[in-house]
């Protein structure tokens, strides 16, 4: 076995040193009925080239996004990741390092996290950010719980523009909670949330661009929430939008949660992704997740450590702010490297390019007979109405080699009014010819 360093002779030597007759003697505490009392219906070990052949065959049964025109977004976006990013994150010292609990030999990871926190704070316009959470959806649930701790109030209102998966995760986390209000899907981008805020409201959760691609008015939401002593939680699933859209922090957000996958991370069929969370300075001690802070070492040199860990489970146990005990370290590294490569100049240009492509898509698709575009404003994603069930149409387009977007009903089966809606995204990788192919195919299918 290529991964096991012992020869049989070494095993025998070691058993001798232990004074055990055989390895089974080391398992003597296991009830006899449970020890090796079975044979496994599993294949035996395999040469690397056969494992590779098996996995390549499975990979070959998937249509990769790069194989043809591709317009799927809805919370995960296909951006170009520079080769440097993927190269660097595979370096042994990044890839195979442990959580930086021993700061003297983890300054690489820690300084990177400090830089990452700074980057996230800058793009969201917030005071502080943590060292990442699992993803945007669980981050949203954590933000809701955090708001309750901060306000000591319990009502939570989720906008109808919140990504349905995010809504579902919050529902699962707050199972059967009467104080959780989930507003109906709002495909037209209508402002739906402000009227529900009352004095018992801990927080409202608003996504922008929302699930249907509409840009939401955060300032109005913040004002309305703050007037009742509630917090505004802003969710951003397409973090590239922050290169062109006003920072939530500048519009009154109290907690910002983003899905950070767009920067540095591949689609990966849904994971691993990267939850970003940023908040106001005064809320930091109620923020879940790891935090990295600056300090000095015994010789006075600048250094970094995980800090404020009295919030965390390994210290606080049942009094922790969350049970979280990992971050999305390697994804955060990829994000941070990609963001460092972009810098302000690149980040803004990337956002502009995405928006330009979306304008081109919206104009082209609006010209297809039978299609109407629901969005007045948007970043890189729009929703279209196709006057027939979207699921079948999208499947037929897939058979033509075009991955045309997400039927809204896949995520909202309970809302028949969205059955004829498709959510379509573009990125810098979408070409004019991709858009032309989509429109041509749509025209034929809807004729």
């Amino acid at each position: 076995m290529r991964y096991l360093p012992h020869s049989e002779a070494e095993r025998a030597q070691m058993l001798g040193a232990i004074g055990a007759a055989d390895v089974d003697a080391l398992f003597s505490a296991v009830p006899a009925s449970a020890l090796k009392s079975f044979s496994l219906d599993l294949p035996t070990h395999s040469p690397e080239y056969l494992v590779e052949a098996h996995m390549r065959a499975l990979a070959g049964k998937n249509r990769a996004a790069g194989d043809g025109p591709f317009f799927i977004g809805a919370g995960a976006y296909r951006h170009h990741v520079p080769a440097t990013v993927d190269h660097l994150i595979q370096r042994s010292e990044w890839l195979t390092a442990y959580t930086p609990y021993q700061p003297e030999i983890s300054q690489g990871t820690l300084q990177m996290l400090f830089e990452f926190q700074t980057q996230v704070a800058k793009i969201t316009g917030m005071d502080v950010a943590n060292a990442s959470l699992y993803d945007g959806s669980t981050g949203t649930a954590e933000a809701v719980l955090m708001a309750r701790r901060l306000t000591r109030k319990s009502r939570i209102i989720l906008s109808g523009g919140l990504h349905p998966h995010y809504r579902d995760v919050v529902k699962a986390y707050l199972k059967d909670d009467q104080d959780l209000i989930c507003l109906s899907p709002s495909p037209e981008g209508q402002g739906d949330i402000l009227d529900h805020i009352d004095v018992n409201t801990a927080a409202i959760v608003v996504q922008t661009p929302d699930f249907f691609g509409h840009l939401r008015d955060l300032q109005a939401a913040a004002d309305a929430a703050h007037a009742q002593g509630a917090l505004l939680i802003v969710v951003v699933t397409e973090v590239v939008s922050l290169g062109l859209l006003e920072a939530p922090g500048a519009l009154g957000a109290d907690i910002v949660v983003c899905e950070g996958q767009s920067i540095g991370n591949a689609l990966n069929f849904g994971g691993p992704y990267l939850g970003l969370m940023a908040t106001r300075k005064e809320f930091v001690r109620q923020m879940p997740g790891r935090l990295c802070g600056e300090t000095v070492d015994a010789e006075g040199n600048r250094g970094f450590v995980l800090t404020l860990s009295t919030r965390e489970q390994h210290i606080r146990r049942e009094k922790a702010t969350s049970n979280i005990c990992t971050n999305s370290g390697l994804c955060a590294l990829a994000f941070s490297i990609h963001m460092a490569l972009l810098g302000e100049a690149g980040f803004v240009r990337l956002a502009r390019l995405n928006h330009a492509r979306a304008i081109a898509l919206a104009e082209a698709v609006a010209a297809v007979p039978g299609v109407s575009v629901l969005n007045k404003n948007f970043f890189n994603e729009i929703t279209i109405r196709v006057a027939q069930p979207a699921v079948g149409l999208v499947e037929r387009l897939a058979q033509r080699g075009i991955l045309a977007g997400v039927p809204a009903s896949r995520l909202l089966p309970e809302a028949p009014e969205v059955d004829d809606l498709i959510v379509l995204a573009v990125t810098e990788l979408t070409t004019e010819s991709d858009i032309a192919s989509l429109c041509a195919a749509l025209t034929e299918e809807l004729a």
């Binding site: 012992h6 998937n62 249509r63 990044w94 195979t96 793009i123 300090t295 009094k319 928006h355």
Partner: protein
Amino acid sequence: PEEPLLFEIGDTDHSGVDLPDVELGEDRLGDFARRSPLDLPGLTEPEAMRHYVRLSRLNHSIDSGMYPLGSCTMKHNPRLNEKIARLPGFADIHPLQPFSTVQGALAVMDQLSHWLMTLTNMAAVALSPKAGAHGELLGMMAIKAAQDARGEAGRRIVLVPESAHGTNPATAAFLGYTVKAVPARDDGTVDVEAVKAALSSEVAAIMLTNPNTCGLFEPQVIDIARAVHEAGAFFYCDGANFNAIMGVVRPGDLGIDAMHINLHKTFSTPHGGGGPGAGPVVLSEALAPFAPVPFLRKTSGGIELVEHVGEQALGRVTAFQGQMGMYVRALTYMLSHGGDGLAQAAQDAVLNANYIKARLEAVFSVPFPDYPTMHEALFDDSFLKGTGVSTLDFAKALIDEGFHPMTMYFPLVVHGAMLVEPTESESKQTLDRFCDVMLALAEAAKAGQSERFTGAPFKAPRRRLDETRAARQPVLKWERESEVPQAAE
């Protein structure tokens, strides 16, 4: 070694990507265009390469040295896994593509599920949790959903042994349970009688780690399971230590109801400086109906994902279908090892821990000597008595010898605990060097060379860091000199 912060190297003009600067004409941003400054420094590609290469060299890593780190299973991360995970057919597919276009990906999930259920002899598996603690949450949510469905929502107590990981009580509390501690016996294991005494109609579940955090297999685990079930409660097993028994003992044969599996510990997906993890949860027949979405269903047309079910199940614990990148890596690892190789790995992990224990026990005191240890060896710090060297000092001195410190002060039930888990990845040569170093350090401590410890590490990129200062005056992001608020005094 000093590496400046990226903000001290780059500026907002520099960029390491080339992108066309498009004219937008009339934008569609409404009134929401960005007005506040980004102020985000960039690096050109050569600058970025050097920054991140240099920074990385300040880290310890598996590839450069051993982690004798109890309770954390830091094993070799095969690069085949990384290569496979990056095939466009896995990395470049979207979670919301039509099922017809992702049959290979769904087959990966199906095959991984088969391996996990077979290795554990359990009825079902929920793949989607993002990490071990998330899996724990899911498992306890499933238990809660099952009891709610039975009309037993009144069960508000969760039993947790004192030696448990911090996530266990945190998870229970997160779901609103009251945590009740179960004391351990003097031999480091849980007494079935103590469990029986704590059980009642108010108890929802017990959360037990097995092998436990003292490195011992709970000898009465089957009896405990029986008692728990007889009391109408569920048995949640913390699977963090599954590496000790995979292929050798099936948790399902012990009577557990739910257990998370850390793909990043047991199945070699990389730790990545703190994540991402992946924490699938295997479930017993009693809990299977309460599994979250999405789950797999095989149809005549292929495999599909069930993404919505009724209210009884616990719902959705994350967007999309979880850590696909980790599923691919873990399955690749499983296929490489095979069932035989995984069993051999578990046995080698146990062999290695017992070898370390055998080589060190004359000098390092073993608090629970009654059983052979499993995958990790637990020592206490009584050998340091009177030396002026603390357990922390001792651990930091290991850094100067090229090793990561062992786990210290955990489990809490042992004074000055030192928990050493070598994993199966370490060669006898490395184990011997580690033991030699441990013995030499113990001798040095006893010989009064306390300065070698209290000041340690000396050879690391940093000396000991002031954690108190970091917590008292938190500096959590970089600010330009001009932005840093002046201290009041």
